[in-house]
Amino acid sequence: MGAVLLAILVVPFAACLVCFVAPVKVAKVVTLSSGVATFGLALVLVPSHEVATAASGWLRADALSVVFLVAVTFLYAATSVFTVGYMRPGSGASEARYSRRFFIGFNLFAWAMAMTPLVNGLALLWVAVEVTTVVSALLVAIGDTDGGVEAAWKYVLIASMGLGIALFATVLMYYAGSSVLGGSYELFYPKLLGAAAHFPPEIVRLSFGLAVLGFGTKMGLVPVHTWLPDAHSEAPTPVSALLSGALLTVSFYAILRFYQVTIKAIGPAFPRDVLLVFGLASLVLAALYLASQRDLKRLFAYSSIEHMGILAIGMSFSAPIAVIGVLLHVLAHAAAKSTAFFGAGSVIAKFGTKEIGRIQGGVGALPWSGPMLLLAVLGLGAMPPFGVFRSEFYIVEGGLQHGSTALCAVLVVFVTCAFLGLSWSASQTMLSPTPKGVVRGEVSAWMAASMVIGLAGLVVLGVHPPAQLSGLLERAAAELGARR
């Protein structure tokens, strides 16, 4: 399995290198092939009960890593399909330069995100997350627009400051470990987890709090979320999809790695409380903001904050079924949100605007993408038979088992508020009469095909998740201390 880990990192990086020299058409094919191949390689790891390692132990994939790897690589593959249609052939040199930069950055971004769950240890984890920040900041600004530059500056500054705090958290955890493991040691997960029971509790507590604050900045947790709506709305649509579906969850993965050590050291009460506070704030604020959005991509950005809040709340319940629900939610949200952004990309290309008030009759104008965008919105709102319904059902069930009835009620109320805000805006744009002069037809078959892929994934997760995937989720939940 070690070879698979290496291949998962080599393939997108090689694609990135090829894009430096290849013409745009070749870059599209290479990116598409790389996306599909990387996803295929990640699937190979799903049934394995063994912990795969490579590169002298610096790379490691346990069940928790594989869950996030599957989410990242699925998005990489689906977004690669979307990108084929999204990147139109341009005649000028500037278009070719833009396309080349885009494909280089896109593959590098996917590589950095795939690396994050595969590196072994908290220090390299921080490095990988920082790499995702700098690469994605450049992708946000790639269009060289006023909005893009503003969003990229806010993003790189706020996220980097957050990661500075996360670095402090990492140093503190190293210090906590040094009391047991000696002055010089690698921050490998098994080593930390093995010794965590003897770590000084005050230091671990501070480290976990700072890690949630620091990595939470990149995850989009309120109140450190302010870069997120800007970056998601101003980035090119494929980048928005990757930011929302993969980058945020990869940052959540970093928090979970700290969570694993913390619960071994000081028990689950403190980490639960911290996650609950951030999760509730994110859910409530996002649900309220969703109702007042005027920009289609900002609408989905706030929906991402809402779903990150749900993940944090789900972890705070910590019942096994809730943790399984959280991990399933990572996958389902990735599929639903990417589909929504793909649909938004088609709508924006069709109507030439992101403003909700100026988009009319999306379903009439886009016979495939329009209805699929509505389905994605229903999926995001946790309607059956989609995966988000199943995952949120598990989370609420776990909350009830945990005895958090009032919290479950709050969760359901605000998820419903968020759904109303989301569906109101979506129905306004998609179900109204199509204005005269708007030609009926898809912008690109590739862009529509990417939505089919996203929706298919969402339905599979909702109706009947494959047994091997369910087994993987159970193993990953057990690694997080939630054994059934």
Partner: protein, 224 residues
């Protein structure tokens, strides 16, 4: 060498002075009006951090830290300031008025944050062989004041310098808490800083190219 932090000696005093210089240069960056002065202050602060790394390497006999000191010196005292100074020179704009608050108010806030950092972190149950515990409190103060710098100054150079100096604060904390952190990890951190500097530099250049200013006052289109 005996564990530092138990009784004051000439060595612990020297370490405390160096850590204090790191904090004082942060204060100076906060109130400095000229971008060039800020960058030079950052270079001075980085020099203090590098010397502190050398101090720990010498007193604790940690060979790896000499390598780190060298890399830190080259990157943070020479390369990063050079990149930012070149940008400031190219754009021919040296911001003179980017304070959101008066200097007295800013310094007062910075003092409050520093006292908070020094006393709160000083109460942690930390025992370090490499540096006195006061240095950890001072590093927390540097981190907090760097946040203040980013918040109260509205020009891209100050904000970028704020982030870089935050990293200096974490470096001091790392010398107190994790002096024996493996060299490869330290190098990875430094490499990441270099990449971040390049990205910050690129975005600063693009921002100036579009807005013809280094001020962030124009970055107010995206709301809601």
């Amino acid at each position: 060498m005996a564990a530092l932090g138990t009784s004051p000696t000439a060595l612990t005093d020297a370490a405390d002075v160096l850590a204090l210089l790191v904090l004082l240069s942060e204060f100076a960056m906060l109130r400095s009006s000229l971008s060039r002065s800020q960058v030079r202050l950052y270079a001075f602060q980085s020099l203090c951090v590098s010397v502190l790394a050398g101090f720990v390497a010498a007193t604790q006999h940690i060979g790896d830290l000499y390598g780190l000191m060298g890399m830190s010196f080259v990157l943070k005292v020479v390369v990063v300031p050079m990149i930012i100074l070149r940008l400031v020179k190219e754009v021919r704009v040296d911001v003179t008025d980017s304070h959101r608050l008066g200097v007295a108010t800013m310094v007062l806030l910075a003092i409050i944050l520093s006292v908070f950092g020094i006393f709160v972190v000083g109460r942690l149950p930390v025992h370090s062989k490499s540096l006195p515990i006061l240095a950890l409190g001072l590093s927390a103060a540097v981190i907090l004041v760097s946040f203040l710098l980013v918040i109260v100054r509205n020009d891209v150079v100050s904000q970028a310098i704020g982030f870089f100096s935050l990293e200096n604060g974490v470096s001091v904390a790392s010398l107190v808490l994790a002096a024996k952190l493996p060299l490869i990890v330290e190098l990875a951190f430094l490499f990441d800083l270099l990449v971040a500097v390049v990205v910050f530099g690129l975005l600063m250049r693009v921002h100036h190219g579009r807005a013809r200013t280094l001020s962030t006052r124009t970055l107010d289109r995206l709301r809601g």
